[in-house]
């Protein structure tokens, strides 16, 4: 193999997200970056993982990176292709999904997500795609992972719109509500960005777990709209392997359209 270019920040993000899926069994794949991260995980740390696409596919085995979550390559060779009624009712709400992988335009410190509008709902500054399946994935998947680029516009103290609930106003209240209302899931566990990896502490608040190679703590803090909880010593996110980078560059996204 010839000398590899060093990993870009997007590549660092995708690799860290893929690694977070190690050992997971059933993953619900969202549109965009989650799609790439999950397909990388399937080729590396989680070959046994079943990919579930909200389009109606269980056990997808895509021969190419799906261009969208409705790409025909997710159907051919899959274990089961079903109606969206079955997918959302039997698989997701029925409690069969271990990890829901979501993106978003805005996230707050409790992992609540906005994919609906920037600005006022009735007269938005920017109209975003909306929930799609995100709202119900956030409620029903056993665990939620988030992948998104971080900036003061996206990591905000107050969402313009709460599309998908995370830990609401804190873990204790969230856990009570989730139990009492029969939600299937326990909420977000991991957030991966182009700069760092975050978890959630026992209060349900986001907490820095590791910083990607090349990023600094100052940079991380200055791109978050609230004071992020930070342990005394922040480890560095392990670097991508040559094979991970090769898979992204040669197999999953050869045109560089997504990463």
């Amino acid at each position: 193999m010839s000398e590899q270019k060093p990993a870009s920040r997007n590549e660092l993000m995708v690799v860290a997200a893929a690694r977070a899926l190690e050992g997971k069994r059933v993953c619900f794949v969202g549109v965009g970056l989650p799609n790439i991260a999950v397909n990388l995980a399937k080729r590396t740390v989680a070959p046994q993982m079943e990919l579930v696409y909200e389009a109606g596919v269980f056990g997808a085995n895509p021969a190419r990176l799906p261009l969208s979550i409705g790409d025909p390559t997710i159907v051919t060779g899959s274990t089961a292709t079903v109606s969206m009624h079955d997918l959302f009712g039997l698989y997701l709400q029925g409690g069969r999904i271990d990890v829901g992988f979501l993106g978003g335009a805005q996230i707050d410190k409790y992992g609540n997500l906005n994919t609906t509008v920037i600005g006022d709902y009735a007269a938005p500054k920017t109209r975003l795609p909306g929930s799609g399946g995100a709202c119900e994935i956030a409620i029903n998947a056993k665990e939620i992972m988030v992948i998104m680029r971080q900036s003061t516009r996206s990591f905000v103290s107050t969402l313009d719109f709460r599309t998908s609930p995370g830990h609401l106003g804190g873990a204790a209240a969230s856990a009570t509500l989730r139990r009492e209302q029969g939600w299937g899931g326990s909420g977000p566990s991991v957030v991966v960005t182009d700069l760092a990896v975050y978890g959630f502490n026992s209060d349900g608040e986001m907490e820095l777990r590791s910083i990607h190679p090349g990023a600094t703590l100052d940079e991380v803090k200055s791109t978050i709209g609230w004071e992020i909880r930070t342990p005394a010593n922040v480890p560095e996110t392990p670097s991508p392997t040559a094979e991970e980078l090769r898979l992204i560059r040669e197999e999953l996204d050869p045109t560089g359209a997504y990463v």
Binding site: S83, G89, A123, G132, G133, C135, E136
Partner: protein
């Protein structure tokens, strides 16, 4: 297609051209644009390019949806221009928006198709969606275990679905992503089925588990090869991803959008002319190699 749209799609109707990424009847959308239908309420889980084009052409007054975008590419710019006040052109009005999640939209069609007054589901808790859509409500379980969310039935005036094949009676068979084509068709007052191929009834009856919609509920069957382009039909052709990206550029500019509609919709009489304008070799490039299903045996019981 001309007759089917003329007979079954009227100004002011609620229209659902369904298909989740797969089997989207662009041919029907373009014919609706050509016939200059107005004040339509366009229902669809994922309004994509075809609805962006219909909105750009002035057909729509309202959207009922759950995800608004150009899948895998980005935004629907014509719709955004009718949604964001800052982008609104002079004389234009904002589109009415009625918004759900995917499961909610599926549930609306299911309730409509099953003639139920509501569909219960475990979405929406602690989301802001019910705050902006008063039709998302709570229902009390009669078994003492609290409240759950509900959406109301959606019964479109007309549902338009695309599929691989049907017989002349309109018995429709489909494989690959099934979306909510069945539920939308059963919920609708009228159904137009558009297919790549008309097959003898014996082909349908040889594999009855493959039928998603019976001719009983179909008002018009339209034979329209490549009628779903630039979306795809499993086994027949791939998504024309280059066009999905191209539309992102075209649709950012109202003038370019208008020019595209003129060249590819208004100035063409029908889908056959659209296909001919691309040329047969173009579609060959979108045709995948074969991946056969295998055969199962139903047994001949006499």
């Amino acid at each position: 297609m001309r007759d089917a749209i003329a007979a079954h799609v009227h100004d002011g109707d609620t229209v659902a051209i369904e298909g989740f990424t797969h089997c989207i009847s662009f041919a029907a959308g373009h014919e609706i644009i050509r016939q200059k239908r107005r004040d339509l309420t366009l229902a669809r889980m994922t309004p994509d390019l075809v609805y962006d084009q219909m909105v750009a052409a002035g057909c729509a007054k309202k959207l009922i949806f759950s995800w608004l975008g150009n899948p895998g590419v980005g935004s629907l710019h014509a719709i955004r221009r009718r949604t964001e006040p800052a982008a609104l052109a002079a004389g234009e009005t904002l589109l009415e928006m009625e918004e759900y999640s995917h499961h909610g939209m599926v549930g609306r069609y299911v309730a409509g198709a099953h003639r139920l007054p509501f569909y219960p589901l475990r979405s929406y808790s602690e989301s802001d969606l019910p705050k902006v859509n008063p039709l998302i409500r709570q229902v009390e379980s009669p078994y003492g275990d609290g409240k759950i969310w509900a959406v109301p039935p959606l019964n479109p005036d007309v549902a338009i679905i695309h599929a691989q094949r049907a017989d002349e009676e309109g018995n429709v068979q489909m494989w690959g992503l099934l979306g909510c084509q069945k539920e939308a068709a059963f919920a609708a007052k009228r159904v137009i089925a558009v297919v790549e191929e008309i097959v003898p009834t014996s082909v349908i009856r040889a594999d009855p588990n493959r039928t998603i919609v019976p001719g009983l509920i179909v008002n018009a069957v339209v034979h329209e090869p490549f009628g779903a382009h630039p979306s795809y039909v499993q086994g027949d052709y791939d998504r024309d991803n280059a066009f999905y990206r191209e539309w992102d550029t075209i649709s950012r500019d109202p003038a370019a959008t208008e020019a595209w509609l003129k060249e590819w919709v208004y100035d063409l009489p029908d889908r056959a002319a659209y296909v001919a304008k691309f040329g047969a070799s173009y579609f060959k490039g979108l045709t995948p190699p074969s991946a056969p299903s295998g055969v199962v045996d139903y047994g001949d019981y006499r």
